[in-house]
Amino acid sequence: MSDTGTPDLHALAQHLATASLAVDAASAFLERGDLARLHRCLDAAATALAEMAGWIEAKRAEDDTPEATRP
């Protein structure tokens, strides 16, 4: 969240980039059969996606909040 309580687009972009990199890396490790690294990358991707889901929830909550009651 930013100082104003608005979901921070920078944070979203960061999570998106992390997920994208982790998925591409996972794909390469899957082809090589490197399961330990594959698991680590999938964990990282899942965490980043969960953070993005949290961002979307926060944005929805903000959109649903009447203007007058916003911080």
């Binding site: 687009l9 960061q14 992390t18 990199l21 990282a44």
Partner: protein
């Protein structure tokens, strides 16, 4: 990638992104070192050779721009600055002060890899040797002899400077990569307060550039628009 796997150093205070980037680059055959703390950068660079630095623009208490200025003062290390969002001013400043490329974090990983390869190729072609080497050591660099008030070229020959040119170069070099304002240059070189209508500082810098710019380092004195100048070259200072 062809040849020896390149050593990439990633400086980014976001651990998750850093690790994902490291995993991706490793999956593509790179060797990767990650670093979250900018204050540990100098020690990391001294401890091992790196072919390229991937530098985050947002680093908490500092910025990628500040780190880049410090690096460019003493190292010819290929550097790509990674920004979180498109910030036009940061991108322009970084490219002006010596970033080899600028990328947004959201570019597809394959594009990021292609850009890294491109920068590495450029350095290898330019130098005919692995990128990321520290600037030539004493004896092969320009030398500023403070007491004799002389500037010597890397081959030892004298580069004739006027008094004002010597003073300006000395002041810029002392600033170690930081911007020196026109006002400060005016005070220290010409012993007078700066007058915006007075072009003496700009004139002396222009003449100095014609003497110290080389093919290898074509723009060692950078103009910082509306502010002053910055020295980003390699120079040894000696007392005699």
């Amino acid at each position: 990638m062809t040849g020896a796997p390149p050593d990439i150093l990633i400086l980014d205070d976001d651990l998750a992104y850093c690790e994902a980037m490291a995993a991706y680059l490793e999956s593509q055959g790179c060797r990767v070192t990650t670093l979250q703390d900018p204050s540990a950068l100098d020690a990391t660079l001294s401890a091992a050779h790196h072919d390229l630095l991937l530098l985050d623009q947002r680093l908490g208490s500092t910025t990628g721009t500040d780190v880049l200025v410090r690096i460019r003062a003493h190292m010819d290390l290929p550097c790509i600055v990674v920004t979180g969002r498109s910030e036009a001013v940061d991108r322009i400043v970084n490219l002006e002060i010596g970033a080899d490329d600028e990328l947004e974090k959201t570019v597809p990983p394959r594009e990021m890899l292609a850009r890294i390869r491109s920068v590495l190729r450029r350095y290898r072609n330019r130098a005919g040797q692995p990128a990321g080497q520290v600037a030539p050591t004493t004896g092969r660099r320009w030398q500023l002899l403070a007491e004799r008030r002389e500037l010597r070229r890397p081959d030892g020959s004298l580069c004739p400077l006027t008094t004002a040119e010597f003073e300006a170069l000395h002041v810029l070099h002392e600033a170690k990569g930081a911007t020196v304002t026109r006002a400060e240059l005016s005070r220290r070189v010409f012993r007078r307060e700066f007058d915006p209508a007075d072009r003496a500082v700009d004139t002396v810098i222009r003449k100095l550039r014609t003497k110290v710019d080389t093919v290898e380092e074509p723009r060692v004195i950078k103009t910082v628009r509306s502010l002053g100048y910055m020295f980003t070259g390699f120079l040894d200072e000696a007392r005699a």
